[in-house]
Symmetry: C2
Subunit: 124 residues, 2 copies
């Protein structure tokens, strides 16, 4: 699976970081921009989900299967549920290999979200 | 009001950016780190709130009153409600001047959130 195809924050077929939206400090977001960006922030707005995301993101090679990250104090079905939510938000991609589904953080999505939070020169 | 006092992401009495948490890619978040960071992401996880935050952040001087940012298609009480939520999450500070309450984005909080989303060298 191509990593770039499922990511709403980056343009298809572009390796460069192409965020949906300008930095939050640059100009007021339009309704469409806010919808797209809010979806990603919301996905990270749950402590368990954030821990799982961090566990995947910091795992060796930037990917992990459910078997690697089950130590956050919730059941494995709950882990799977949250990983699915992160995937739906475009923050993770997944690939089945044998028994396990492996989840991977797309660095370009992290970079794009980080860019939203940079300080525009005019507002600094 | 000192801007640094109400910000959970930065240490009191520190002008430097001192985020609560390492980059998400560095190591798995602890439960406490995830609680703190998720609160901020959640605050930005609503489209209307994100538009308001962007409107304040991009307004001249990095601050705005409700009177400046009422064009997001919701009532003024709703605007005030969302601004209060952003303030409770530590993303905005406020100050009353005469009739109006002025809201300001704390650049160090933006920077700290941006830092969460940077790619740690080991995971890149």
């Amino acid at each position: 699976m191509s990593n770039t195809k499922v990511l709403p924050l980056v343009e298809p077929d572009s390796d460069a970081v192409a965020p949906c939206c300008p930095p939050l400090t640059e100009r007021p977001f339009t309704a469409d921009e806010a919808e797209t960006a809010a979806r990603m922030f919301k996905a990270l707005g749950d402590p368990v989900r954030l821990r799982l995301f961090s566990a995947v993101a910091s795992h060796e090679g930037g990917e992990a299967c459910v078997c690697d990250i089950s130590d956050v104090g919730v059941s494995q079905p709950t882990v799977s549920h949250h990983l699915k939510k992160l995937k739906e938000a475009g923050l993770l991609t997944s690939e089945r290999r044998g028994t396990w589904v492996y989840y991977r953080v797309e660095p370009s999505v992290l970079a794009a979200m980080g860019k939203l939070l940079t300080i525009a020169p005019a507002a600094a």
